[in-house]
């Protein structure tokens, strides 16, 4: 019998595939590409962390852990968040170990969104935010930040889009793709408006360890914000552990309890070996993180100054490992620019529009690549620009 119904759910049917996908397919089919298109560290996970995982396997720790994660790891996370970000969470019922920050985002949104609730997404943003809001049944409401403000959210922009249906605001500092970091003062201004409109905040701090010029401020550390914040962090970026799929949520008890229900029914728990590795990362990884951070900072300085020299104007990003230069001077769209650069000079970058409308006119370049690769990429981009 023929299938006659529409089997795929309306929500999923309406979702657009990620714009990153198209570029991946194009770049992956070519040889000799220098990739600045990668959203992950070029370092391999520190050896002691890999070692700890091997040891856990040798000892046979291969079963499920508690839903919220290994008790020992939750305690380490609680200590780490207190030590690094000055916020206290009870490891017993305020911390959940997740399958990457990705799952943490999903669980957070599903725990708070009712059908047609609005969630504000600050663009340019990580590609998952808006789709995850939709999948949770909510309506993503974009805010467009601008290059004029180094892509920092201006608090009054929240006022312009807030409605009685607005439930939450997702912020990401340091930001993917712009590298923008919100400092304590800017976060305080945002907090003021959040409080005024009684909003929740999902604070994605996955790049917190990679903040180069200023002291990092975590959103829940701002006065009275802990109680209305779901803090998301993880091991992927700072500890160079993307493939381990390990992240965490820290949130007040009632939120954490709600999120744990979803987590327990959908994931059971995060991978056990990754959890053992993460304990080592938190206990002894600080020096490795510091070394990697130093190297990113040097490469950022080199890369951003070089971009400006070859005529792609670029603000100095305060964190993460992305430069987000403007390509408006070329008259091309970001898609055209990225495609021609790839085909003609074999340098892969990501067109800014895939991160939301305000990313148009920009490209995302990851400088988590060897210095030699960055030098070569700059040479090729310069040649490309001179030819236009």
């Amino acid at each position: 019998m023929q299938k006659t119904k529409t089997y795929i759910s309306d929500t999923v049917s309406r979702l657009k595939p990620s714009g990153i996908r198209r570029f991946f397919d194009l770049a992956a089919s070519m040889e000799g590409v220098i990739s600045l298109g990668v959203g992950e560290p070029d370092f391999i996970t520190p050896w002691s962390v890999r070692e700890a995982c091997i040891l856990s396997l040798e000892q046979g720790y291969t079963s499920y852990t508690a839903n919220a994660g290994l008790w020992e790891l939750r305690k380490e996370i609680s200590d780490y968040v207190a030590r690094r970000f000055h916020v206290l969470y009870d490891p017993a019922d305020e911390i959940i170990v997740t399958v990457g920050a990705s799952q943490a985002l999903d669980v957070s949104l599903r725990a708070i969104v009712n059908p047609s609730d609005e969630v504000i997404v600050v663009e340019p943003s990580f590609v998952s935010y808006a789709p995850l809001v939709s999948l949770a049944g909510g309506v993503p409401i974009p805010i467009q930040t601008s290059g004029k403000h180094q892509f920092k959210l201006q608090p009054e922009q929240i006022e312009q889009v807030v409605t009685p249906k607005t439930k939450a605001l997702i912020i990401c500092s340091p930001n993917n793709p712009t590298g923008a970091v919100l400092n304590a003062k800017e976060l305080m201004q945002i907090a003021h408006i959040v409080e005024k409109h009684d909003l929740l905040v999902i604070s994605d701090e996955i790049y917190a360890e990679l903040c180069y010029d200023e002291q990092y401020t975590s959103f829940p550390a701002i006065d009275r914000m802990r109680e209305r914040t779901i803090l998301i962090n993880g091991f992927s970026k700072g500890f160079a552990m993307t493939g381990w799929r390990l992240g965490f949520i820290a949130a007040p008890r009632d939120f954490a309890t709600a999120m744990l229900k979803i987590h327990q029914y959908t994931m059971m728990c995060a991978p056990t070996m990754a959890q053992y590795a993460a304990i080592e990362a938190l206990q002894n990884g600080a020096a490795d993180v510091e070394q990697m951070k130093k190297s990113y900072r040097q490469r950022r300085n080199f890369f951003v100054q070089s971009l400006n020299e070859i005529g792609l104007s670029c603000h100095m990003p305060g964190g993460a490992f992305y430069a987000f230069p403007s390509i408006q001077s070329t008259g091309m769209t970001s898609e055209q620019f990225a495609e021609r650069l790839l085909l003609e000079e074999k340098v892969a970058v990501v067109p800014g529009h895939v991160f939301g409308g305000s990313g148009e006119g920009y490209i995302r370049c990851s400088y988590a690549s060897s210095l030699e690769q960055l030098q070569e990429a700059i040479r090729r981009m310069k040649r490309f620009l001179e030819r236009l």
Binding site: A28, F126, Q298, F302, V350, L371
Partner: protein, 166 residues
């Protein structure tokens, strides 16, 4: 000598790659080219930077394979000059690549490079063992170099990441 943070950063960069272009380095540490030049000159003059070395994997060059040996040397220290005099007599030989005073079972660790095992054997028996203060030598030949001065030979440094990712 007390170095600033930027000076230390420059030393570290040069230690990893002595051929890093000055203008690249200047950008990396956010200084001007002439500031970096001045710092390097100062560090060279103060002998903080002692030499710019090149690490070569000679096994790859036909006819240049060579042999390296580490020799444990027991010596009788001399009154007044301790181990320094005999160490100096040893390190003056051009075949000798390094000499360290050690704690433990022997006194000096001597690294020798030669064209062949017999050349090294000859050096040890004719030159080293015959020195007055030398009591005994134990020669260890290096069979394969995996890592030298922080540099891994034959490193698989290909990028395993996919080309474009979120």
């Amino acid at each position: 000598m007390k170095l600033t943070e930027k000076e230390i950063e420059i030393v570290e960069l040069l230690e990893k790659n002595a051929r890093l272009p000055i203008d690249t380095m200047a950008k990396m540490v956010s200084l001007s080219v002439s500031e970096v030049e001045d710092i390097i000159k100062k560090l060279e003059e103060a002998k903080v930077i002692v030499q710019y070395a090149t690490i070569v994997d000679w096994r790859k060059v036909d006819g240049h394979e060579g042999v390296t040996a580490m020799i444990d040397v027991k010596v009788t220290p001399k009154r007044g000059v301790g181990f320094d005099e005999v160490a100096e007599r040893i390190y003056r030989f051009p075949e000798v690549k390094s000499v360290y005073l050690m704690s433990g079972a022997y006194d000096l660790s001597v690294v020798i490079e030669g064209r062949s095992m017999s050349e090294i054997a000859h050096f040890v028996s004719e030159k080293l063992s015959t020195l007055d203060s030398v009591i005994s030598t134990t020669t260890h030949f290096i069979l394969k170099k995996y890592k030298h001065d922080g540099t891994v030979f034959e490193q698989g440094d290909q990028d395993r990441r996919i080309v474009v990712a979120p």
